[in-house]
């Protein structure tokens, strides 16, 4: 068997993103894009799901560990090539979205 270890998924719980009624149709582009923006938005802007979760947990004095769940879940939506391209654009300063 070639690389049995390599064929195992990375450690941790990776789930499929659940149904989001904000994006009910087959075209999930907006779902991916909105959540990608959400992750890269810093504090002071409209809070994205992940960051919102972190803030709320910190306010209640709890660990932000469960928030990792959001992070992985929405990363599973976007094609890797899109995320790579957008991250490259952010680095180059040519990203069109508001972050």
């Amino acid at each position: 068997m070639l690389g049995v270890e390599a064929q195992k998924p990375p450690k941790g719980k990776w789930t499929t993103a659940p149904f989001d009624p904000r994006f009910p149709n087959q075209n999930q582009t907006r779902n991916c894009y909105q959540n990608f923006l959400g992750e890269t938005w810093g504090a002071g802007r409209k809070s994205p799901d992940y960051h919102r979760c972190v803030k709320a947990m910190n306010r209640r004095g709890k660990s932000a560990q469960p928030c990792e769940y959001y992070f992985r879940e929405y990363r599973s939506l976007c094609p890797i090539s899109w995320v790579q391209r957008w991250n490259q654009q952010i680095q180059d300063g040519t990203f069109a979205g508001k972050i």
């Binding site: 582009t29 907006r30 894009y33 923006l37 957008w86 069109a96 979205g97 508001k98």
Partner: protein, 261 residues
């Protein structure tokens, strides 16, 4: 005895439909020569043929109606149907461009930044020249209505004054819009925003020029005493067309200039 016993106009054979079709062929193939082979000759020939066809065909219609009396009420009814159907077809023509605009602007893609106006686009301020243009066209709608009423009441001087006012307002609109085109910070090649903006407003501008020309022809005919207070369909057709142009602008203004900014 050789006279017709029906109210319709059996038009004499005419070469203009053929020359019109030929001009269409020359224009379209001329566009190909211009786009791909860097030559404008064929297209210019086609445009010339088109203009000559229009001039002679409509001149003949004026001769048949005004000078020879062929335009009975029945014939006029047919002409009315024709103009209405033509304007309806133009409505559908513009509907396509509005569809394109709304398709792109209601769900802006990630490439645009996910918002409208897209990233990097500074739209024109709708409260500046575009608002003035709206006022100009609305005023021209009033002046052309004044012209129509003057015509029906037999006030020759007022017809000439109000028709001239309408035409001048139309030219003023065209000049302002041309200046906007030169001064705009974005061009037709600036993504989908540029495409939808300039194609929709551009075709509208072309229709303003066509409408102004139609009105000018009416002014000339009025000066030559062609119209009576009861029979002036050419003028009515021009007025319908002018109101159509005005309405299209209102949709453009609200959709692209105002909502789209």
């Amino acid at each position: 005895m050789n006279h017709q016993t029906h109210a319709f106009h059996m038009v004499n054979p005419s070469p203009w439909p053929l020359t019109g079709a030929l001009s269409a062929l020359l224009i379209t193939s001329g566009l190909t020569m211009w786009f791909h082979f860097n030559s404008m000759t064929l297209m210019l020939l086609g445009l010339l043929a088109c203009i000559m066809t229009m001039y002679q065909w409509w001149r003949d219609i004026v001769r048949e109606g005004t000078y020879q009396g062929h335009h009975t009420p029945t014939v006029q009814k047919g002409l009315r149907y024709g103009m209405v159907l033509f304007i309806i077809s133009e409505v559908f023509f513009f509907a396509g461009f509005f569809w394109a605009f709304y398709h792109s602007s209601l769900a802006p893609t990630p490439e645009l930044g996910g918002y409208w106006p897209p990233a990097g686009i500074n739209p024109l301020n709708p409260t500046e020249v575009p608002l003035l243009n709206t006022a100009i066209l609305l005023a021209s709608g009033v002046s052309i209505t004044w012209a129509h009423h003057s015509l029906m009441e037999g006030h020759r001087k007022h017809v000439i004054q109000s028709l001239l006012t309408t035409i001048i307002l139309g030219i003023y609109f065209t000049l302002l819009q041309a200046s906007e085109y030169f001064e705009a910070p974005f061009t037709i090649s600036d993504g989908i925003y540029g495409s939808t903006f300039f194609v929709a407003t551009g075709f509208h501008g072309l229709h303003v020029i066509i409408g102004s020309t139609f009105l000018t022809v009416c002014l000339i005919r009025q000066l030559l005493f062609h119209f009576t207070s009861k029979h002036h369909f050419g003028f009515e057709a021009a007025a319908w067309y002018w109101h159509f142009v005005d309405v299209v602008w209102l949709f453009l203004y609200v959709s692209i200039y105002w909502w789209g900014s």
